[in-house]
């Protein structure tokens, strides 16, 4: 048993798991080309999962193990050792075969990703919660209602 497994409640994934997870997170949401948005691997997705959905960690660990096992089986090496194109092809193949594979992780990833300051700034909502600043919304052009006014009453008298 390794040191990381002994303190498993604080470190739910061992180093191998973490290396695979970082690769997968980057496959789900890579950094944007303009550099404005980080890779999901640079966002603390694991911390988020531990904080909010710790009960899913066993499933995540099993999926990471499955990826590694499939890498050994098909390529003869660990998943983390594969070149990027082979990793991508392997993940695509598993997802094609098992549509729900890592679906929970993908949902958790975007849930965590889209609360990151850098991401929220980049998509224009600001690195803050809605309250108390709120947002500006244009009132709208009421002259567009002119055809509706001209048509007149449409409800039935009763």
């Amino acid at each position: 048993m390794t040191q990381t497994q002994i303190i498993g409640t604080d470190n739910p994934l061992n180093d191998d798991h973490r290396r695979i997870l970082a690769i997968v997170l980057d496959l789900i949401v890579p950094a944007s080309e303009d550099g404005q948005r980080p890779s999901a691997a640079d966002v603390d997705v694991l911390g988020y999962i531990r904080e909010t959905e710790g009960h899913t960690l066993d499933g995540l660990r099993a999926e990471l193990d499955q990826l590694d096992a499939e890498a050994f089986e098909s390529q003869g090496e660990a998943f983390a050792s594969l070149d990027p194109a082979t990793r991508q092809a392997l993940v695509d193949a598993v997802r094609e075969r098992e549509p729900h594979f890592m679906r929970t992780l993908a949902m958790q990833t975007v849930t965590c990703y889209y609360r990151d300051d850098r991401v929220l700034e980049a998509i224009g909502v600001g690195a803050r919660p809605p309250f108390p600043e709120g947002y500006e919304v244009p009132s709208g052009d009421l002259s567009l209602l002119e055809p509706v006014r001209r048509r007149g009453q449409i409800y039935r008298e009763a």
Partner: protein, 535 residues
Amino acid sequence: MADEVVDVLIVGAGASGAAVAWSLAETRMRIVCLEQGGWMNPAEYPSNGRDWERRAAKEMQVSPNLRKRPADYPINDDDSPIAILNFNAVGGSTILYSAHFPRFHPSDFRVKSLDGVADDWPIDYATLEPFFAENDNNIGVAGLAGDPAVPAHRPPLPHLPMGRMGETMGRGFNKLGWHWWPSDSAIITRPHNGRGQCLNLGPCNTGCAQGAKSSADIAYWPMNERAGVELRTHCRVREITVDNRDMATGVTYFDADGNERHQRAEVVVVACNGVGTPRLLLNSTSARFPNGLANRSGLVGRNLMLHPWGAVAGYFDEPLGSNFGPQGCCILSQEFYETDTSRGFVRGYNMQITRGGPPVGTARGGIAHGTIPWGAGHHDAFDRLFGRNIHLGICCEDLPEEHNRVTLDPELTDSNGIPSPKISYTLSENSRRMLDHGLARGAEAMEAAGAWKIQKAPSPIRMAGWHLLGTARMGTDPERSVVNEWGRSHDVRNLFIVDGSVFVTSGGVNPTTTIQAVALYIADSMKRRLAELFD
């Protein structure tokens, strides 16, 4: 306290109970309201924090069966394609409502006369008009006068911003020659009664941190308590008690510590919504009312109407800022509200234009539907959806059918051991056709507005059973109704029902403004008849 007889005992502090309490308070009668939930704290609503979307999905879950707050009671809705949604707290389901606030039409009260289906109400639009206005002023309704789809009225506050998305849909409706209008909204756009105006936070339907949304806890209860109404929270009523003269004597309830108590009252007012009210009446059995209180007609719990809901989403090329603004309030179209039998159904529906999804919601939806891929295409796909999508809700009038009903579940109970409601509901052929028509017209509207992608959700939407109506209907015939034309039980002369249960038909719009107008009308009727209230 236990032996004290209060003048009026109201069960439920939601939309209708709050309005009735406000109206009756001027009589200086001793009024007590029992509410099974507690006060919500707007400082704790999700939109105060960064993780608001995740928190909203869990803590402010719309289904009590999933939310499981201590104040919630389970509801067996397995036998219904539409789940029952509610919120249990001071303010009731208005804590989570979107505050879209369109009024019923005059024709909604004359369904039988005009269209040959269901029944006419014993009251009409003109009767309720002053109470619509009173409620609008009390809570602060925003809107634009002149909507030709409803009788003239002047909302007290300026309309909410339509934004570019509202203009886009407006142009689409104009292209088709269809009606549209900025919707009346129970959201204040100017300071009102000491409350701050809307800041366009967005997620009104997860609780308004600003307090601009006129949920009943904020809009009514401060006034009620200043006027002397006593509100007891965390008090869950088990049954209404009666004497051998068929008069209500009070209620038995569990207090916050789980102690069983009895509160005596001269008048009992039930305001627990279209599921909670029949549940309470059916749980109130006695030798004189073996089938439930006020149920000699056998209609308590029957004629449940739920507003089957359809949804269409449109995606646009240009940025619309559609992720900003009050989630459920923008514009509406009532082009297909009034009956036209050439459409293949009677009655009609409202089209409610709602804002686009927030960041996490957009991303999760995109992942789930395959419109946002993993990998290099993620950001472009997200950008193509976020702030550029518009949603259209179709609120179908649901006609009353006796087999659609609330009964008591033989096994399920709440945390106090009180039997829970069981829902039996099927979608009628008329509603099915109406939904299909609405989905097709919704898609047509999106296309006219310029959407490059249009998605019609499988409908009826299951998680859309907010509008709980008809289960203790109003009427002049005791054989065919539960309460009379001013809300008093035919069977129990000091028992009043003031929530959506008394609706004879459901209209095709979100009902809260009409629920509160009816509640204020009933309270006014009580005040006018105080000397002969029980005659």
